[in-house]
């Protein structure tokens, strides 16, 4: 309490100020850093980006207005179309596979047996490690000449593969790496949710003669529905925003077979300096992403209102 002692001496002055202004000065001083940084570097850029998307800008010289030119151009951009296709292939495979594997593993890991802590740790570690590390590590493992993957294929007498060097395989190899890197996330989210699944309900179902699989399917899985919805949205957002892993493995190649939307935006904005055009693409993508997040929020509200 020593630290508090000096202020005790002068309470009237503070009270006078408070009577006049309430706690406004204190409150605004407390939130000032957050307001300046978060609103200044998010809300302002959101508006700025929108204005930029109607201009031809290169980040350096003066820009000029082009109306809906950027938006008209992106509809006919074949390279963007390919990037959208690659992103959708990634999303359609990555989201269900990561969630199904996450649920399966979480159910398997939700028991008290020896080494269970070690298993959980091993499955989660790939997720916490930088995507750059994952990408560089698997570039080595799937290296055509020096990689351990081809070495194993060779040892078992199977033909060696191009992997990340083969335009028809690279995207699927990236999906595989992404799954390795993010199943752990789905596992811990489901594991946390499983702790909240009502024991009484499970026991009641078992007493009523339901099989273990029946309890799982009819009692446990439905109770996990809100978490599954959260994961579907979260994993979809992650998939649609794929960048790091592509950069750390294939850099869009070979033959542009792994250029995904955000990678394409990066190329347009910071390699080709078509900032206005990049902003237009980013805006279209952002609207889809924000729409998805909004759906998740609406679902949660609805869920709370209709338990």
């Amino acid at each position: 309490m020593e630290a508090l002692a000096p202020t005790v001496a002068a309470p009237p002055r503070r009270r006078l100020r408070e009577r006049l202004l309430g706690e406004h000065p204190t409150a605004w001083a407390f939130i000032a850093p957050a307001v300046v940084i978060i609103l200044g570097l998010t809300i302002v850029p959101v508006v700025w980006s929108l204005l930029l998307s109607f201009r031809s800008a290169d980040l350096i010289s003066a820009s000029h207005a082009v109306g809906f030119g950027n938006y008209k151009a992106l509809v006919h951009d074949k390279a963007l179309g390919a990037a959208v296709r690659h992103t959708l292939i990634f999303t359609v495979l990555f989201v269900p596979l990561s969630i199904a594997a996450g649920l399966g593993l979480a159910l398997a890991l939700d028991r008290r047996i020896r080494l269970i802590g070690l298993y959980r740790t091993l499955i989660l570690i790939p997720f916490i490690v930088a995507t750059a590390v994952q990408g560089v590590l698997f570039s080595f493992i799937f290296d055509q000449r020096f990689g351990v993957a081809n070495s194993l294929l060779h040892r078992f007498g199977l033909p060696t593969q191009g992997f990340l060097g083969d335009p028809s395989q690279a995207l699927y190899i990236i999906i595989l790496i992404a799954l390795w890197g993010s199943i752990g996330f789905c596992v811990i989210i489901y594991l946390a949710a499983l702790q909240d699944v009502s024991k009484e309900l499970k026991e009641a179902a078992a007493v009523d003669g339901a099989s273990r699989l029946g309890v799982l399917w009819h009692v446990v899985v439905p109770q996990l529905a809100p978490i599954t919805v959260f994961l579907v949205v979260w994993q979809t957002l992650t998939a649609l925003q794929l960048f790091d892993l592509v950069y750390a493995t294939s850099r869009g190649g070979p033959l542009e077979s792994t250029v995904v939307i955000v990678y394409y935006i990066y190329l347009q904005a910071f390699q080709l300096f078509h900032a206005g055009y990049a902003a237009a693409i980013a805006y279209v993508v952002a609207l889809v992403l924000i729409g998805l997040s909004a759906l998740q929020i609406i679902y949660r509200r609805w869920r709370v209102a209709h338990p």
Binding site: A27, A34, I37, I38, I113, R114, I123, R145, A248, I265
Partner: protein, 275 residues
């Protein structure tokens, strides 16, 4: 039941052990190959268990100027970001939880709303702002946008809202200012939330690749993820050195995770349960 009787352990191990190994094996391979010579790796088919250990890869990485510098840069950015988030997110979170002021709800909702705004639409203007502030190509460009995060503000607010108010009121009656209460009463009680916030902030900062890649151009200002991917592009034949750099980048996060697993898991699940 017959299987269970014959096995001295739970049959679940038969499924879980191979899967867990599958997740861990790439890291073992990463560590092993960092101690191989390029000759051992450049053989076809490549060696899987090397006969002898070599330190050339590690000498390249630790003896060169680049990796120690990148490690230092990553550390500076992570440490400053973590500390500033602990301070500023606590202050803002506390204000939104406890202080009554006009606009409180509006500003809080606005901050919350920024959580769903994807980085792609803010990155170009943020890049221009950093350029205008003469921060581009400096560590400041990596620190300033992350000084305080919306999720951190949200996390701290939730914690302070659920904190019993009686202790604080006692200190207030003793004449303690709001800042005094925050520092001496509320924050010490908020240690679990602060630990969660610190773990998450460290993880995100240490692993970040996209933004540093955009805003940093000079080798000596790279952080580890940018340095690592650049180094790999330039030394694609020297896999032992690339893998040593990879171990160096992964190690701090893995060690921090192993030491404080509960905190890390709490920070990862907080986004789903409360978000």
């Amino acid at each position: 039941m017959t299987i269970r009787r014959r096995l001295p352990f739970s049959p679940w191990h038969l499924a879980l052990a191979p899967i867990a190994i599958l997740f861990g094996l790439p890291f073992a391979w990463m560590a092993i190959s960092s101690f191989m010579s390029t000759a051992q790796i450049n053989r076809f088919p490549p060696t899987i268990i090397p006969g002898s250990l070599h330190l050339e890869g590690w000498e390249t990485v630790l003896g060169g100027a680049e990796f120690p510098r990148w490690f230092l840069n990553s550390t500076i950015v992570a440490v400053v970001t973590v500390i500033s988030n602990l301070i500023f997110c606590s202050m803002a979170g506390y204000a939104f939880a406890r202080l009554k002021f006009r606009g409180s709800t509006t500003v809080f909702l606005l901050i919350l709303a920024t959580l769903i705004i994807p980085f792609q639409i803010t990155m170009i203007p943020t890049f221009i702002v950093m350029h205008d502030l003469h921060l581009s190509d400096t560590l400041g460009a990596l620190i300033v946008p992350n000084l305080v995060t919306p999720f951190g503000v949200f996390l701290m607010r939730q914690f302070f809202v659920n904190l019993p108010i009686e202790v604080e009121e006692a200190a207030r009656i003793d004449g303690c200012s709001r800042l005094g209460v925050l520092i001496h009463v509320a924050m010490p009680l908020a240690k679990p939330a602060l630990a969660t916030l610190a773990a998450l902030t460290f993880l995100v900062s240490w692993n970040e690749l996209f933004w540093p890649l955009i805003v940093i151009n000079t080798d000596s200002t790279f952080t580890l993820p940018v340095g690592l991917t650049t180094f790999q592009g330039a030394h694609s034949i020297d896999w032992p050195a690339v893998m040593a750099g990879n171990v160096l980048t992964a190690l701090p996060v893995v060690v921090a995770f192993l030491l404080t697993q509960r905190t890390f898991i709490a920070s990862l699940t907080s986004s789903a349960v409360k978000g």
